[in-house]
C-alpha cells in the first residue's frame, strides 16, 4: 500500500511540477482571495489582524477544492482514469498517494499565505509550533475529504459543481477548529488551541481511515 502511495504521489507531484497548474493558478487564486478580503474589510489593520486566521483558512479551503479538482483532472485526460482502475495499484495506496500529493502542495501554499496575512493583515505569527501542527493536521483532513469526494464526483458529468457541494459542508469543522486554534496561537496563548488541534487530529484520522477503506469501491462504482 505504501509503495503504491509513494508511486502515485510521485507521479502527481511530477505532473504538477511539469504543468505548473498549482504554481500558476492555485497560488495566484489564493493570493487574490486574501487580497479581496483585505479590500472588502478595508485597510484598517485593527479589523484585519483579528480576522486573519479565519480568512487564511477560508483561502486554504477554497484552494484545497482547486487542488482536489486538479488531482482528478489529470486522471480524466486520455482515459487515464480507466488506466488507474486497470492498474495493479492498491486503491488504498492510490488514495494515500493522491491525498499526500495534495497535502504537499497545500503546505507550500499555506507557507506563502501565512506570509501574505502577516504582510497584508499585520498578523503576528506567534506560537509557530502550534500554527505548523494545525496546518499539517488540518491539511491532512482537508485533503482526505477532498480526495474521497473527488473520487465520488470524478465519474460524473457534473463533477465541477458537485464537488464543492459535497466538500464544503464536510470540511466546515476543519475550518472552525483550525481557525480557533490559530486564533489562540496568534493571540499569544497557543496552549489554548491544543483542544482544537486534537479535534483536527481526530477528523484527519477518521477521514484517512474512511478513505483507505472506501476508496476502492468509490473508484469502481463512481
Amino acid at each position: 500500500m505504501l509503495r503504491d502511495a509513494w508511486l502515485v504521489a510521485g507521479k502527481d507531484l511530477r505532473i504538477e511540477a511539469r504543468s505548473r497548474v498549482a504554481l500558476n493558478q492555485v497560488v495566484p487564486f489564493a493570493a487574490a482571495v486574501i487580497l479581496l478580503f483585505g479590500l472588502a474589510l478595508g485597510p484598517d489593520r485593527s479589523v484585519l489582524a483579528p480576522a486573519s486566521a479565519g480568512l487564511f483558512w477560508i483561502a486554504v479551503l477554497l484552494s484545497c477544492l482547486l487542488a482536489t479538482q486538479r488531482s482528478f483532472a489529470v486522471e480524466s485526460a486520455d482515459g487515464a482514469r480507466d488506466g488507474l482502475r486497470l492498474s495493479g495499484l492498491d486503491p488504498a495506496g492510490i488514495f494515500l498517494g493522491k491525498a499526500g500529493a495534495v497535502v504537499a502542495e497545500l503546505l507550500v501554499l499555506e507557507a506563502l499565505l501565512a506570509l501574505g496575512v502577516a504582510v497584508l493583515y499585520g498578523a503576528h505569527l506567534t506560537g509557530g509550533l502550534v500554527l505548523a501542527a494545525v496546518c499539517v493536521t488540518a491539511t491532512v483532513g482537508l485533503a482526505a475529504v477532498g480526495i474521497i469526494y473527488g473520487a465520488v464526483a470524478s465519474g460524473l458529468r457534473v463533477k465541477e459543481t458537485l464537488l464543492p457541494l459535497l466538500f464544503l459542508p464536510v470540511a466546515a469543522p476543519v475550518l472552525l477548529a483550525a481557525t480557533k486554534a490559530w486564533d489562540e496561537a496568534l493571540a499569544g496563548t497557543p496552549s489554548g488551541g491544543l483542544g482544537w488541534l486534537s479535534l483536527l487530529a481526530v477528523f484527519a484520522v477518521v477521514y484517512v481511515t474512511i478513505g483507505i477503506v472506501a476508496f476502492g469501491p468509490l473508484l469502481e462504482e463512481s
Binding site: K11, I15, G79, G83, L86, S87, G216, E220
Partner: protein
C-alpha cells in the same frame, strides 16, 4: 486447453441501458479472436467487461479463471487493454509513462527501454511528454506499455487506428508473437479482412449478443 474467457448469458448495463444483453462465449487460451459487428453491437463493452472495467450485472463471466462477479481487481494484473484512448499521462514522457505503468503492476522497469525501442520510440521521442506526440506515436506508446507488460490477455479495440503503415505491420507482428507465446487476444476491428487474417476465428456481435455469421456475409 481451459478457456481464457468464458461468458454465460452475461449482461452488462450502463444505468438501465443494456451494453451486453446476454452474451455467451468461450475463447480458448492462446486463441486470437476477431470480434466483429456493426456500431453499437457491444464490441467495446465486451472488451471492457473482460478487463473488469464494466461490472457484470447478471449471468456468469470468468476471465483467466477469475470470476468477474467477485474478483475483478485480481484479474487486471493479467489483462492489457488498448482502447480508443491511450490511458497515458500527457505531462509525463514516454519513458516515464512506461516506467510508471510497469511499477504500478509491480514489474521490473528494465523492460521499458526495449519496449520503447521495439515500437520506434527510442531516443528523443522517449524523453518527450506524451501530450506533444502525434496520435500515432501515442498509440505506439500505449502499445509499448502492453509489450513491456506482456499480459496473458490482450484486449485490442481498433488497434490499427492512427498507425502508419510501418506501425500497422509492427502491430501485426506483435499479435502474431503474442499468439506464438500462448497469449489470448480479443481484437475488435472494422478492418475485417485484415483482422480475420490475424485471427483464429471470428465472433459476431449484434445488439449486445453473440449471433451467427450473417448470411449476407457468409
Amino acid at each position: 486447453m481451459a478457456p481464457a474467457v468464458r461468458l454465460r448469458e452475461a449482461v452488462a448495463l450502463a444505468g438501465r441501458f443494456p451494453l451486453l444483453a446476454g452474451v455467451s462465449l468461450e475463447i480458448d487460451e492462446g486463441e486470437v479472436a476477431h470480434v466483429r459487428g456493426p456500431n453499437g453491437a457491444g464490441k467495446t463493452s465486451l472488451l471492457r467487461l473482460c478487463c473488469g472495467l464494466v461490472p457484470l450485472h447478471s449471468g456468469e463471466a470468468s476471465v483467466l479463471g477469475h470470476d468477474l462477479a467477485i474478483d475483478r481487481r485480481a484479474l487486471r494484473k493479467h489483462v492489457g487493454m488498448l482502447g480508443h484512448q491511450s490511458l497515458l499521462y500527457e505531462e509525463l514522457t514516454v519513458e516515464e509513462n512506461l516506467r510508471y505503468a510497469l511499477r504500478s503492476f509491480g514489474l521490473e522497469i528494465e523492460q521499458a527501454g526495449p519496449a520503447a525501442a521495439r515500437l520506434g520510440l527510442a531516443g528523443r521521442v522517449s524523453a518527450t511528454p506524451v501530450g506533444r506526440l502525434s496520435a500515432g506515436q501515442r498509440r505506439r506508446t500505449a502499445l509499448a506499455v502492453l509489450v513491456a507488460r506482456d499480459p496473458r490477455l490482450w484486449l485490442l479495440d481498433e488497434p490499427h487506428a492512427g498507425l502508419d503503415q510501418e506501425g500497422r505491420e509492427l502491430l501485426d507482428e506483435l499479435i502474431a508473437e503474442s499468439r506464438a507465446k500462448g497469449r489470448t487476444v480479443l481484437l475488435c476491428s472494422h478492418e475485417h479482412e485484415h483482422a480475420a487474417a490475424l485471427s483464429d476465428r471470428t465472433v459476431w456481435l449484434a445488439g449486445g449478443q453473440v449471433v451467427e455469421e450473417p448470411a449476407s456475409v457468409a
